[in-house]
Symmetry: C2
Subunit: 261 residues, 2 copies
Amino acid sequence: MPPRRPPVEMASDSDSENEVVLQCLSCEEEYDPKDAGTCKECYDEAKEELKCKNKELEELKCKNQELESKASFLSLSSPVLNHSFSFSTGLLLLLPADDSSASPIPAHKNILVNRSPVFKAMLESDMSESQSGMIKIADVSCETLRAFVNYLYTAEACLNDQMAGSLLALGEKYQVKHLKTYCERFLISKLNWDKSLELFDFACKYNCKQLRNESLAVIMNNMTSFTKNDYYDDLVESNPMLIVEIYETYVRNQINTAGFH
Amino acid sequence: MPPRRPPVEMASDSDSENEVVLQCLSCEEEYDPKDAGTCKECYDEAKEELKCKNKELEELKCKNQELESKASFLSLSSPVLNHSFSFSTGLLLLLPADDSSASPIPAHKNILVNRSPVFKAMLESDMSESQSGMIKIADVSCETLRAFVNYLYTAEACLNDQMAGSLLALGEKYQVKHLKTYCERFLISKLNWDKSLELFDFACKYNCKQLRNESLAVIMNNMTSFTKNDYYDDLVESNPMLIVEIYETYVRNQINTAGFH
């Protein structure tokens, strides 16, 4: 809707004296009293209501996309349309490579094969894991591994910052794309200036395009405090090229903005 | 919004001559030209737009519910939260009992156990199917059985009237509730007067409450043609009690309606 303007009451200089002409707040055309619709209050209310409905629609559409993608992740290759049906059967045991005291977690081969192309390649070949019936996973806590396996069965996880990071890393390693997106969405929802630099580094490491863009945008909006970010010194040390990239982006943006004015 | 009334232009008998007072089509209150909002055309358009948005919202909410239920059906009991985790492994063969030439369809035990409490009871006990690794299913065509197994893996099926009926019957037999609802929704979407009596009979047989109510409503609206329905004579013969029930409902409705007037 176009911007609001006050109605015009015109003291006409035409034949009919005292003629009233009104201006519609929506289409901005003038109209006669006989063509009047609503008062301003109702117009404002209706505009507000429409805005709310549009927001609700957007949210539902997002939710719908998430559910579509969840159902698609949980769907299994079927023995009937069997181009990629897995005849793998039996249980495997998964355990953290660095924790010999952890209880192994059982999982069905056919589920692992369906959820991860990496497990598929591993289990449908003669790799040692396929022979031994055991998969040792490096750099993972027992808790994270349990959450990972649970996700492969249910597409659900109880996340906090740390768990989201660890699961995303596993999602990247085993190419469980849906899990990566799930964790990335969580991290974006928690993004703020304090975390932005660390998350930018993390996003670059694990190929998370959206998280990368979002955290970079937060950094760009806070460049005056950039060097004061808690993670700045760490990153200068561990990956100075990323710091350089951020400065380059900042300067490029400034040039572009200047160019437009 | 309240029903539309034309705006009132009042030739006032008060002090100020030619005063114009308008009536809002939405709240029905009178207002001064200085408080005017929109013209009638824009009001009508906005009303129509809101109606469309509401319809769209309803449809999205339904779709959302369907997707929630689909994802929940496809979710598997996990080895981590393992109250009902199935350690069943291996493949089974399913085949139509009445067609010895049909190719058996392989299916993973853990999928069958997850999707159907009937299969679960069958395969986690010492029943003969569990021993033989083969499940023969009576009264089913090879095509329907393939669609059934495919549904257990994907929660999807390509339906027509006949396939929906056959799959619903299997859903009832093996207590695959999600499949029943899926087929029932399809049959309701295709419901008309010609099919209503047959579908009412079908719904009673397979405990489909919603289909039963919807088909009964169609019958009630067409009672003058009741005996002319193609399925009437068949049903009088095969299940006269259902015919009696329909007549009883009709008369009860008439008494209730009369009572209200």
